[in-house]
Symmetry: D2
Subunit: 406 residues, 4 copies
């Protein structure tokens, strides 16, 4: 997230975790999770509004489980697991760790309650601080880094998920009183051009990166241009007004099926209000602002919009190339769908051990998103960062940026 970007809420911000030593970063990241959960009641933290969503308290426990399972149990002699069944309850998807509670039933767990989960976090934090006080082999230190980045990802998931939970309640309660406001001027978009040819993309090994960002490799690009700003709500209103949600010729076949079966007629969280549109945000319901980037759209909608606009989505290689050479302030309000399916880079090898399941096994049926959103923790992303979701997902903070051939 760019330094001058308005945050989710000023009081919820932390320093970037890549600065300072690892102990300080550990404390900061762990504290920020608790800060994000603090406005939520015990009831709020328990509900799972759809299978893709996890309860807040589950996020708090699972991120803790990650440190307990991958750091403390193998590396801290004498460490006592907090509870014998948490290994099962809070395993997300690691087959190598063993069986786990079904994902779609996370909302059935009234126990452990939020107080017990706070104790769990403190117990593991104490173990971790003990461990971090010792000299650690690089592989172990790498896992700590991974755990922190993992927790940051769940910080954004926590916000995505609680937004959906609150939205599922007819009372439409707000998460915070002072919602984030997006930047954006709504001016006509300018285009950033590139003459194509071979470029390098992927992480170069300097600093932390997920395994899916590697190896750095050469790709060949045709000449192209990318818009300097993401598509705005004002742009999107023109798409709606032009019948964008009613014209099958604009849509991929699977996208059109989703429009019909899910009754889409606007981005998720939009509410029709006579001739206007309101939007549900973490700060409650307010009018749609034409100047802000459109958010909470699926890949299908991004693709249909681009077709309607006579343009296309950028590939992730195009995006990364432009991102690397342009001023960073124009990225980071919304995750931007790319035209690229989420696939391994040439020469990709997943990380060794159970954490090899972190990214690689999801490389099918998803599309890559680039950038970051107002819900992304400060300092978490990089130009090479590859986020990914299935093409029908709308609950992440997703928008789009146009591209075209030149």
């Amino acid at each position: 997230m760019a330094p001058n970007q308005p945050a989710l809420a000023p009081e919820l911000r932390t320093p970037a975790p890549n600065q300072g030593n690892i102990v300080a970063r550990f404390i900061d990241v762990r504290a920020y999770t608790e800060q994000l959960a603090a406005p939520l009641s015990a009831e709020d933290q328990t509900v799972q509004s759809m299978p893709d969503v996890s309860p807040t308290k589950w996020h708090r426990a699972h991120t803790t489980w990650f440190f307990e399972t991958f750091l403390l149990q193998p590396n801290l002699a004498g460490y006592e697991p907090f509870h014998p069944q948490y290994r099962y309850l809070f395993n997300s998807y690691y087959e190598a760790v063993g069986d786990r509670h079904p994902r779609s039933e996370r909302g059935l767990l009234s126990r452990p309650g939020i107080a017990e989960i706070a104790s769990y976090r403190r117990h593991v934090d104490e173990g971790m601080l003990e461990l971090l006080g010792r000299p650690l082999p690089p592989a172990v230190e790498g896992l700590v880094e991974l755990g922190l980045h993992h927790e940051q990802q769940h910080q954004e998931l926590l916000l995505m998920d609680i937004k959906h939970v609150l939205w599922s309640n007819p009372l439409l309660p707000a998460y915070v009183d002072s919602p984030a406001s997006f930047r954006g001027d709504g001016d006509a978009a300018r285009w950033i051009t590139h003459r194509g040819g071979t470029v390098e993309i992927g992480h170069d090994g300097d600093g932390f990166a997920f395994d899916n960002e590697t190896p750095r490799h050469t790709v060949y690009l045709q000449p192209f241009a990318v818009s300097e700003r993401p598509v705005s709500c004002g742009d999107w209103l023109a798409f709606i007004d032009d019948g964008g949600y009613a014209r099958p010729d604009l849509w991929l076949s699977d996208g059109w099926a989703a429009v019909r079966s899910e009754h889409w007629e606007a981005p998720s969280y939009w509410l029709r209000d006579g001739d206007c549109w309101q939007v549900f945000t973490l700060g409650g319901v307010r009018a749609v602002d034409a100047a802000e980037p459109v958010c909470h759209i699926s890949y299908y909608e991004a693709d249909a919009y681009a077709r309607w606009a006579g343009q296309r989505l950028p590939t992730e290689a195009e995006w990364e190339t432009i991102r690397a050479i342009h001023r960073p302030e124009v990225f980071g309000d919304v995750w931007e769908w790319t035209a690229s399916a989420y696939l391994p880079y040439p020469g990709f090898h997943p990380a060794a051990g159970a954490v090899g399941e972190y990214n690689g096994k999801f490389m099918v049926n998803q599309h890559v998103l680039r950038g970051g959103s107002i819900a992304t923790p400060s300092g978490h992303t990089r130009p090479t960062y590859r986020n990914f979701f299935p093409p029908g997902a709308r609950w992440p903070f997703t928008g789009l940026r146009l591209a075209r051939d030149i």
Copy 2:
């Protein structure tokens, strides 16, 4: 519930609500609901473990809604509803009251939280005490009675539902430390005989009854006998050991389909433990006691058991006839499935107004149960009381008693 019957937990018992004046009864019944909810955390009270189950806090709110909607709003001038959307949120199934929140999504409501629901209850209680302090027309007084019996029904539902919620958690937490224990001697059952002929069943109008218990009317019975005790867990173990759950010839066709698709091999809440069986109760997991009545079985299982035993289930007319002439202590540990489909009595007319939806509209696809259970509030039932559930339901406190032709 019989006077000498061990209660759910001594501290949770109230005096029978039919004694004393209506104000005292109102206070007692309302307090007992809160007493039942008291051991449960905010998280416990929020979870809905299947569509048939309602969260504890929903029961607390809906019983309050009943008084607000049917008593205070029409009869207490100047009464201010506690919250404008509660009419929608906490309507269970009254079409005449208007739209309502979908039943299967009650578990998505993190708000209102338990504190706000406690305030809602106090607000309505104050209004009710004001109303009850005035002279009331008999129709209004009848609605207050109905509201109290309604709340008592939800007290049992609350216990049924939270048992299922806790059971859905791999930690299998207990609701209370001191579980109820059933009576039962496990002796060979004695038979109570009746020579048949015309009898009268249904409520005679003396004291409160639901509309579905009326009118009192004549039915003709063939000679029959009914067992003096319900079927015990020991009896049921013999059924299991004889392959009862593996022999399609014992089952109704729909029952056998349920055995296969639901993988039934014992009553609900039973857990295989090597060669023995454990059972999950509101007091946690303990060994099955052969002497206690079997509980948490579907109509399909009751019917299959009776066929296996060479007997049958009693009709509700047979049951009521025997109940009326026999000592009451042998009834009330478990609700007893009868052979009778839940249908209107000859000449039945539902109560006038919206509360006419209370019973009548459910008279299809269900079977009648008679008696009462350890979770039924003291004094709530009568010999003419007709409980009802779909034939596949297992989460109520359901058992059976055998009958036969003579």
Copy 3:
């Protein structure tokens, strides 16, 4: 079906099977099935339009399987089954016979084709004629009778099912050119009264009856009246025009759920045509005739209509009592839903052996229908005959007759 009743189509009628000797009846009944299938192409006979429907060729094969399995294999020494896998393919629901092809996948069987099924029928007919040429013990003769009545039931099912198959095709093809026309004068209904008291119902053992019609037994009736004619389409149009399908207060809860989820707004097979209604029949699409009995309604609709009319449905005991004392011509156009759930009569015992699965195991979740329809083979029914379907079924030839207390 009454003697003077217009048949489905004159050329499709057979003499009543209860007349003449058993060989002649066997030949007639078997021939009539083939006569019913004759207008249908190989493609028509193969399609299964919903799980409840069976393909025509499956009916032809299954009725044959009944004779092969229950008569020829146990009783005709040296009989060679036509095909080793037909025992599996054409078993409907007899657990005692073994596994079977799933009901919902009957439409996946392109083989055996209709020619092979015709051979199968001839093969079994030859065996049966050989068997019937010998002196048979009464139990075996009873099974032959059962097989013939079974085949007659499937003759009506064949017509019900093919009607649904053809209806599922946007071309709406007709089964025959000369459709049946119903009797009915549309006059105001007269009422047949009865003073109540004890009556006897059930089969008295003279002639064939299914096990579910026995034993004959006493029931007690309150005074009542039954309409002399079934409800007509004209009556039903008034119900529709009065918002019958839009008023939840008229409906059972499960019925209203079906209205909403299935989008009911008229009987099945009705087609809105501007301000009028057309109806799809076995003879194609024609205008609804106000004078004819309404047909293809569910129990839920029958019950809602009766409530709208300020009346109720008769119980099966009332129906049978009136039927037994009234002129028979007024019964038989449509199966009439009764208020009675399908349950065993007091003292009921299913027939011995595998055919004990014929009726008894379906005695839950269904309602009794009485009478017969234009699709019922001549002579097949009796005043004591108990037909049954789940309350949501609309593809049988179902109507209703009103009753009321007096």
Copy 4:
């Protein structure tokens, strides 16, 4: 299909459609469809065994509809459509043509029967021959070409689909007596290497190609090797024996979910026979031949196998590069899954008009397959040909070829 390749069955082969003039090719292609349908009964041609499968007679009608809709109606003055509702019934997915019969209900259409569909084909063939006898603008001629290639695609679909239909029948009937046999020697695979760098892929415009094969464009490859032969059944047996279907670490997450929910333990159409495996083919059931290419596997299985073998799947660019420089005989027995998601080539524009829906709108949620199979009509494919299916599809004739980095 390579010239020296053993065909599906010798009597079912046609000359390659790209030879000779368009009239001759039209006659040949249309005749071959009828030849493929000829062994099938009316019943066989009617069944739809799953939503992805279409009945044989539907393929015969839809390919005819293509010519009627896109060629005859716009271009042959005075042409009378064969039937007014066929435009609706036999539209597959062309939104621009209007509404259509639901895909999953194609098996409900008993009418039109196979004789009427044969008449439909003759009627359209006559119109087409009249049209083809005239001078045609290039755009129209291009549509005729497209229609012929479209019909060839459906020839393979017809075989894929009828195989699944026959497999759904417990009798496991054969389509033909003389099944195809695959080539394959089962020798250790040799590797074809490539040093990488920029290459060109996509169709160069010489001869027919689908729009999805264009434009030809530059891509950058890392050095790689591709196996000279596809993976054989012998190879696959080693994978099975090594627990390939029981080790989650080998699978993509969505793939492992499919293994569990679909109970995969071998390729589709394989049947366990004690310690051996049989396979259902269009010629009936026979032993699995270790030397033949494995067939009827999903992308998930191909990917898991490659991981188990320590290799990977080739990208479509790698595949096409090797195919273009290697002897063609080693391609064409099975469609080969590639690592590439099905996405538009840089600069892709769909064809103009309704036929623009042919390929482009499916470019999401699918993976590219290259090569061709024994069911592919002779001469239909090209090195640039892009076939595509969802990653879980197993009913196409799908196999794999390994690749690796060097």
